[in-house]
Subunit: 598 residues, 2 copies
């Protein structure tokens, strides 16, 4: 296997094609294919784009079985547990009865006059699995395996996805420079890796709201986000039915799912932060770990002593988890129960291979508050917690801001890498200005591209609705596409091997007026095609050597092509033949393009 | 006058307010005001945003008289010539008969069976002015004045706009580090300055198309672009009626207008590049200079010897002007007539104070071609031409790319600044990846923000339709807003004095749940308000202490505010009183927010 980007043509790997899939796909310019690994149950999905010149380009694919016409998906049955056999045959986990699901898990009190507990068995008839955990509290994490020198099927899977050797994957995980979030209770995931050595990843947040979305809509949001390229999805649901929503999302998700357990814990105490306890929180973490949550945001860095550091801030504490923990610390005038019980939490996460996403509860919420004492005090604590987590073999990434002007961005990644021993950085943007509500996907896409170039491993998307309301379907798509742009721009700038071949394929198509290929290679083929057709809808325009932007007379690419055709293709040919060609060109009428009829 | 950004409150300058304007404006949260300079005819427009807490914020305003309810604008009459008196009293120009307007100026041949010459006198009855030019070929440029130590009213005007001293403006122009594009035949402009010492500027391109837009639509596109913040507008019209279109645009434009005279010259030879001559080109430049074009893109750096350097490129020559000149050079196997006659061209431009925008005809059109030999060979020639232009007292800026991956951006601005002796850089993006047609405002907004941070003075916008078709009204707005974000993010990163006060005002409004203030301070108040109202349309929601994004229970800003209220406002208060407040807080019920009714 070559050390090349998965976005480059991987023709040497002979993706498996079924004739049916091929036929289905070719009509729309691409189809789903699989690259087989060292065992028949290790099949890495790719998106194969068929060009009109007979070539094909293979792209990384996050969309799961939903884009495979041979797979019959059913949201009430869930996806096939592709990793189950790998987990079982490792022999280090055991099934057990698990924690009973209680009404309050769904935000329903026994005394509530409204509705009863949803029966999960009815929702998922024949629910296939009891929860699983490490035998005798063993760490069953990819980090533990990597440190022991083992290359798991999960590692081989991501190696194929990233076109690197499995040993590179193992080394990066063992060193704590990358995480492979893969809860043993989420066997439906197609493994992916987060680390600066690999392609930059994008997370999309989804989450219900009492008023505006249903469980089915949340599952649909998840599949919609992954269709456009989300590498992980965080379920930030609050309010009613969060247990059931999460169950549906997990059973249907081909990508790792992250959560913030504190949100659910707070629901269990009726939103009274001071009534939160370590026991309630721990019980919630176990509940979610048994369901299969792959990574959890834990705001254990918000220590009592740091709360006063936010007092003179322009926008205080803008992290929901951070503000909840700050309120708890102040109410009790006590050290955070998350910080105090961090080692016990590590033991739990290690038993399920839940990855830490150490939350930046004190991240800045405005340009004015960027890189301040509160933010960096917490970062130093995250560095301390990162070392503890690693000592328990728990995979760990670190969350980052937020709102940061461009000239202060690099300090964030440099400090984080130093303090957290190169653990993967996972940032929200950052937004580079506060003055453009309704365009914060763009204010933050700028910062995201830059911080990813400098080493951030995963970017949490921001939608146009940030600061204003709950994103709808279009907002989710716009957020994901914007962040895929930032991530790929960073892959290019990092010189990720082969990243540029995607750009080259599209630029070749552009120069050669292969419009259909341009559309099919685009991050968003639908919108690219629609924009082109707005002014030139006719079918012949799809092969025309111009577009409505400049028209046929002023198309520089056409003129440029004509020059090349007239004067030979390579530089030496041009130089040698230029004087002679000049005469021929004049003799041929000297027309470098066809003027419009006049 | 303090050395502060014009976006900061300029209350010490006492903007003139008319009660009518104030009344008209206050109902929508802002109004147009003027800051008066050292003479009564020097009135600098500003946008005054009225906050609900009684404060106001003053923002830079590019929208011209159209947003002043006291001014009665009429597209057929044109704007008032606010600079005319300044130009006349300098006494160094003279009116003259001017070049007669010919049918072919509008792309109409005498033999054409279709239509006749439009009668400009009918379009602009009582057309007020004969053209004006420097007496006896004198250089009547802001550069010439600045070098002589004169501070013109134009310089004072921009000093007020930028909140710097007039002497700083004069120095920057004299040193060639800034340009103030102001053709003596475009007295309608409100002066603005382009240079790295000042706020980053944004240009919007407009241009007709035979099929899809009319003259009225082009004027409307211009006023639409300046309403959202475009600092200059380039009229890239081709085809029919370009002379008349330009006349309408100029007479109605409060911002400098740029053109590419080569496009019109090519129309005059029926699109046959090889039939272009210096005489036809020169005549076109005079035609446009007499109309009042403020800056002209001249592709004089595309030399014969550089054309072969593009032969092995992925996307050849993507500049329209560049490809036309390359075709001409090859057809004749001769050096470019623009390069050969550059000194004569300087004499013409100096007589009208037309600013050079030295075009980068060999800019890269794909990631693969960035920073190559062809591009930098041309840049070195632009450096040579810049020195020549300065020797004729012609103001000069330098155009830059294009398509450049993030890690190659800085080299562009650094080399340009070195080779061109810090002349203002004016770049198109750059686009940081090729894979997202339909989102190239974003792929390029990322590059634009970065290159502006590093010193680029003006950014040419890119719309979502780039590479696909002609932008419509929505695309123009999206392009301008995206580029205003990039420009302001750069102003912040450069530490432009006071730039952050705009962000601070908006963040304060956000933290204090002053929703109307957030909308009115936003780059695009309409969209921000619409997005908020989509999920929470009711009027009470405009003062609610949450939005639908997190809902009332999970609003971190609300929790944060409650903490601050409970525990005192400043850090020392928090520290001193924390233990005691903790008890009080508990006694008060410990509720940090109101849970939703349950």
């Amino acid at each position: 296997m070559t050390d090349k980007d998965a976005r480059t043509p991987v023709s040497t790997q002979n993706p498996t094609e079924t004739s049916e899939a091929t036929e289905a796909g070719k009509s729309i310019g691409w189809h789903k294919a699989y690259v087989e690994g060292s065992r028949p149950d290790l099949r890495v999905p790719v998106r194969q784009v068929h060009l009109t010149n007979g070539e094909s380009v293979t792209l990384y694919d996050t969309s799961g079985p939903y884009t495979d016409p041979l797979v019959d998906t059913d949201v009430r049955r869930g996806l096939a547990p592709v990793r189950e056999n790998w987990i079982v045959t490792r022999g280090d986990t055991e099934e057990y009865a698990g924690r009973p699901v209680r009404p309050e898990d769904d935000g329903i009190k026994h005394t509530s006059p409204r509705g009863g507990l949803r029966n999960l068995d009815a929702v998922f008839p024949g629910r296939p699995r009891q929860p699983r955990r490490g035998r005798e509290g063993r760490a069953v994490t990819q980090l533990a395996y990597a440190r022991r020198g083992e290359i798991t099927p999960e590692m081989e899977f991501v190696a194929i996805r990233e076109n690197v050797s499995p040993e590179v994957v193992r080394e990066e995980i063992a060193a704590g420079r990358a995480v492979l979030p893969a809860n043993v209770n989420h066997p439906e995931t197609e493994p992916m890796i987060i680390g600066k050595r690999f392609l930059v990843k994008v997370n999309a947040n989804i989450g219900n709201s009492a008023v505006t979305s249903s469980i089915e809509e949340e599952v649909e949001k998840m599949t919609w986000a992954t269709r456009w390229g989300a590498d992980t999805v965080m379920d930030l649901s609050t309010g009613r039915n969060i247990h059931t929503t999460r169950e549906w999302v997990l059973r249907n998700s081909p990508v790792p799912i992250g959560t913030v357990p504190l949100y659910q814990a707070l629901e269990k105490v009726d939103g009274k932060a001071e009534e939160l306890t370590w026991e309630i929180y721990k019980d919630t973490v176990v509940e979610q770990a048994e369901q299969g949550v792959d990574y959890m945001t834990v705001h254990a860095g918000v220590r009592l002593a740091y709360v006063p550091l936010t007092a003179n801030r322009k926008t205080g504490t803008v992290s929901r988890g951070g503000s909840i923990m700050a309120a708890w610390c102040l109410a009790h005038h006590k050290e955070s129960f998350l910080y105090e019980n961090f080692e016990e939490l590590c033991e739990i996460l290690a038993a399920y291979d839940v990855t830490y996403s150490l939350g930046d509860g004190l991240r800045p919420g405005s340009i004015a508050d960027a890189n301040d004492e509160a933010q960096f005090a917490e970062l130093r604590t995250l560095g301390e917690l990162n070392r503890i987590a690693k000592s328990f073999d728990v995979q760990t990434m670190i969350e980052g801001p937020g709102h940061v002007p461009m000239h202060k961005i690099k300090e964030n990644i440099d400090l984080q890498q130093e303090i957290c021993e190169e653990a993967p950085f996972y940032t929200l943007g950052p937004l580079t200005t506060d003055v453009a509500p309704a365009y914060d996907h763009i204010t933050s896409g700028i910062g995201a591209a830059m911080i990813a170039w400098w080493g951030t491993a995963m970017l949490c998307y921001v939608t146009p609705k940030e600061h204003l309301g709950l994103p709808n379907r279009d907002d989710v798509k716009t957020g994901v596409i914007t962040y895929k742009i930032a991530a790929h721009a960073a892959d290019l700038a990092k010189g990720h091997p082969g990243a540029q071949e995607w750009d080259d394929a599209l630029s070749d198509a552009r120069f050669e007026f292969r419009w259909e290929d341009q559309f099919n290679l685009a991050l968003d083929p639908d919108t690219a095609r629609a924009f082109h057709d707005e002014t030139l809808p006719a079918e012949p325009a799809k092969t025309a050597h111009f577009c409505s932007m400049c028209g046929p007379k002023f198309c520089s690419m056409k003129i440029s092509q004509d020059i090349r055709r007239e004067h030979g293709g390579s530089r030496s040919e041009v130089e040698e033949g230029m004087a002679q060609k000049s005469r021929e060109f004049a003799a041929a009428g000297n027309r470098v393009y066809l003027p419009i009829a006049d």
